[in-house]
Amino acid sequence: MMANIALGILYSLPTAIEGTNRLIVDIAMFFGLLVIVAMALNFQYGNAGIPNMGCAVQVIIGAFTVSALTTRLCFIILEGAGIKLQTWASDYDWVYHMTFNVDTANGFLRNNALLGISLFLFSIAVAIVLGAVIGYLISLPAVRLRATYLMIVLITMADTSQIFGRNIPAISGGTLGMFIPALFKWYPGDSGVICAVVTLLLGLISFFIFRTMLNSPYGRLMRSIRENEVTVGSVGKNVVGIRRNVLMFASGITAISGVMNAIYTNFVIEAAYQRAYWTYWPWLMLILGGPGNNAGTFLGCALIVALRRLIIVYKFSIQSLFFFPIAYLEDIILGGLLCIIMIFRPNGLIPEKLLYIPGVNYSKIVQEEVKVDWRSAPKARLKGGGEKGPTKKEPEEEKK
């Protein structure tokens, strides 16, 4: 009977991804994308104290990997398989023959799931490596700078990457953008759903990686650099090297969200990777939730993404409620929320707690039979000096 009831519930479940279900998939997808960026930012700023204002450059590297490398590899494989494509060698052909070529590639990928999955894994792997390389390159001038200058350098680097994409059509079709092959075309249903599931899975894996790193001795070292880098340097740690490693690692992870965004939209254009979206919104999520802990990052991300998607979807319905154009509502919320949080809750909704190392029994450490009697120390010193006779300094004093 229970099975029948459950079956009845299953049959009554929605089967079409449209309307509200489409909105849910959309929110889940962008939650997955932005939670990866926000967690990487929390890793850099919340734990290592590196104020990375260049998240956009790392995301754009992921998107450019798909548009410039995966698409070319796909075309080479298709031509190797004997499928006739239009020429795509020159910049002009690359942009204007893209629609036909991508359409042909999609037809091939529909029946070749293995190729689609292989290209997807290739994109992720290359994006991580290229993201790490970019992290290394941006760290060269950046890690020796103090917070303010570091932020400015990273902002300019994010803009520089956009300028590259805008002016070199071979990367992402220049100002027109370009379509990319649908790597999940083999999936019989709505490719947005599988994209959302994969993105959430990647977010979950990233979370476990960051959690493991933060609970390791390296994570504690990162926190100590955040608190006082001079002290850490004075005990022989390579502060510059550690900051570089952190930037490289977080850049590699952030590039994954660029890949997933490109695959979800099947289109890459540099204008879609503005720093306002891929840098300032993750910063707001981090500051809203509370830097230094993953729970705060998740809470901030969930709140902001839901808010933004609801505004985008229902903006025409709520336009009559506002005296200004609804297009500015997002920006007003960004600025307003930031001001409110900084005034009333500067530590975020979930403030950072003391460091907790799993597996270590704190109460056992504290209750250990180690008696530290600091109050008796001066007395013992005086007593010891008196009994032993004059100390080394005393004869000198007597002479004086």
Binding site: T15, G189, V197, A295, F298, K353, K371, V372, S376
Partner: protein
């Protein structure tokens, strides 16, 4: 048993005509599950850590309180413990490190 039957029947449904929609159905709920499980796990872990920290803080407060109750003039050696300055060579002490007092 019921769950196994349910899973089997769910997969049989996949083999029906509208295969894309059936896959969508399964993945949609898998997505919701992932979406729920991720924050739930993080919140659970956060609560666990905060509880452990609070417990350790309480334990530390209790041990500090015990020390405060003890006579302040009494040296640590007399209480059965060992003063931390006695472990290393103290230039002001007549004892050697770890030397037992007769």
């Amino acid at each position: 048993m019921y769950i196994a039957q349910l899973i089997l029947l769910t997969f049989f449904r996949v083999a029906q005509e509208d295969i894309g929609a059936q896959y969508d159905n399964i993945l949609f709920y898998m997505m919701i599950f992932l979406w729920v499980i991720m924050p739930a796990f993080i919140v659970y872990e956060e609560i666990k850590e905060r509880r452990a920290l609070a417990e350790s803080e309480r334990a530390s407060e209790a041990s500090t309180g015990e020390e405060a109750k003890a006579e302040p003039s009494e040296p640590a050696e007399k209480k059965g413990g060992r003063a931390i300055f006695g472990r290393v060579k103290n230039p002001f002490s007549k004892h050697e490190p770890n030397e037992k007092k007769e």
